[in-house]
Symmetry: C2
Subunit: 330 residues, 2 copies
């Protein structure tokens, strides 16, 4: 089988192509449609999903250059979802810059998002492969699921009976399927056997769930400097994360009353609310419980990867990527 | 070559399939994502574009049943654009019913529109054809152009130097390319020669332009009962249609001053404004000039159709469709 590429190389491949495409897009008329797309694509980010697609392609000995259009498609789609989510969530800042609906306006954000979603398909369909219909079907199914995840996320805001299973299903749809779909598209482009493509998909699902649970945890417990964003945002927004749902499940009568007091309180000192809720989480040992849950998914992910029928050493970059995402040293 | 189907038959084929799909969609979770899609697809409409796709397929002896998924894709896409346009244009009523952003809310309208755009691709990609990549590329190019048309339309609202050519290019993108693209996709699915596929595309472009110019005309001059919607809306909104742009071009100093007076006036009696502007249009003979312009495009469309290299009698349904759209008896 072909020699493999380093993660660095694949990241540069994606970054270079994206920059090139963003430049072209920024030169296209009408400017009010295309410049916000250039702006969005140039905002940066880790470009994880396209790199994941290329890594899976590489794992099975596929041609990463041939897979690059599909990788760009995934990144353009992901950025489209962030753009529209920011309108819906009234989030004004994205990667330390004004969100598109703030920098321009809401109509521009709606329409340039629409165009990005179509553009994602334009990149995808350029891929020269006999499995074009298969990857386009998987891409579309994944894209629909991401929309479903966003809808559940919004629904949960006004829903009082969200279960932990509901939450896990929501983050599966909103976060994990696009990671899993990226891996599987890469595998399909490399004409991996279906069983292996499904294993790499489940690797992605479990890695995605592990990552999201850890991200929720960091939102509460992270050292703010390391984490990079302001801690406690989920607590202030009463976001029904695993932590809050599990806390409500485990809390005794007094703790439950306290949690509900803070959830329902309209006027509060933000720092006071964060400290109070965090204290309950700590008493309930939720940092450990949540880390354990995340770790379970991470281990399941690694088991799925282990079962993939290719030489062990080809899996090393994916194991390394998993570690990086999970911020593990071991 | 195969016997052809009547327009009625094709319309029923589309209506039946759409109803069936809308029903399934309405049963899918999460309801806040899928019910607005069912609502939108059940709003009705003439289903012109999918029927056009099937008619072009039929013209070249293709299999209309095999083309049905692509036809549904075009209709779902068209309805998606209406849904998002209604948010952007603050249009609260669509086909005598509340628009999705009014019946539900704006977030629901954004996200269910996004899902419809992906769903359009899901229908398209289900098509079993060796030209799947070709039709998906054409569909995507067309979809991007529709977005460009909508952006130009919004741009023109705040732009004082819109030329008649700018306007024609805008309606080509916003309206004509989807009609033309539907025809061409049908031709491609029937594996028509490229030259004929291009002719049927130009038939669609010119028919679309003729139709839009006539629609603008009817907005001002139509017998309200026949037209079905309230006349004068474009005048009240200062919409830069062919009529207004041509009037500004042809007007003498006094007429121009009058037009600008009405355009800039913030407080006015709607009926008075309509009557005054209409009077200038009439003096400038714009009803006739505009009809002539529309007719030129209509004739060009018919010439393109005539040049298509299939038996004359196979073109009859398309000629009939053209007449119906243009509300001609001759």
């Amino acid at each position: 089988m072909k020699q493999m590429h380093s993660i660095d190389y694949l990241q540069q491949l994606v970054a270079h192509r994206l920059k090139q495409e963003a430049g072209k897009i920024g030169q296209t008329q009408p400017v009010n449609l295309y410049q916000p797309i250039e702006y969005t694509l140039n905002m940066g980010g880790k470009r994880l999903r396209p790199v994941m697609l290329l890594m899976a392609c590489d794992l099975f000995g596929g041609n990463v250059d041939q897979a690059l259009n599909a990788a760009i498609a995934v990144e353009v789609f992901h950025n489209f979802t962030l753009l529209h989510d920011d309108i819906m969530d009234h989030a004004d800042i994205r990667r330390n810059q004004p969100a598109v609906h703030k920098k321009y306006n809401e109509n521009v954000a709606i329409l340039s998002g629409d165009a990005m979603s179509i553009m994602a398909y334009q990149f995808l369909i350029r891929t020269e492969t006999p499995v074009i219909q298969k990857i386009t079907q998987l891409f579309s199914k994944t894209a629909m699921e991401v929309c479903e995840g966003q809808q559940y996320d919004m629904d949960f805001e006004n829903q009082t009976n969200v279960s932990i299973d509901d939450y896990l299903e929501m983050i599966r749809l909103k976060t994990a399927v696009l990671i899993a779909g990226s891996f599987k598209m890469g595998a399909q482009l490399a004409t991996a056997p279906d069983a292996d493509a499904d294993r790499i998909y489940r690797f992605g699902i479990n890695l995605g769930l592990a990552f999201q649970l850890q991200d929720d945890l960091l939102d509460v417990f992270a050292d703010q400097e390391k984490f990079g964003k302001k801690a406690g945002g989920d607590i202030l927004a009463n976001k029904k994360t695993f932590l809050l749902l599990k806390a409500l499940e485990m809390a005794d009568a007094e703790q439950k009353a306290q949690l509900e007091h803070w959830i329902n309180k309209k006027d509060f000192n933000p720092q006071e609310k964060i400290v109070a809720v965090k204290k309950i989480y700590t008493k309930l040992n939720l940092q450990e419980i949540s880390r354990q849950k995340s770790d379970d998914y991470y281990q399941t992910a690694l088991n799925e990867l282990q079962a993939v029928e290719v030489e062990r050493n080809r899996k090393e970059p994916l194991i390394l990527l998993g570690k990086t995402i999970m911020k593990r040293e071991h």
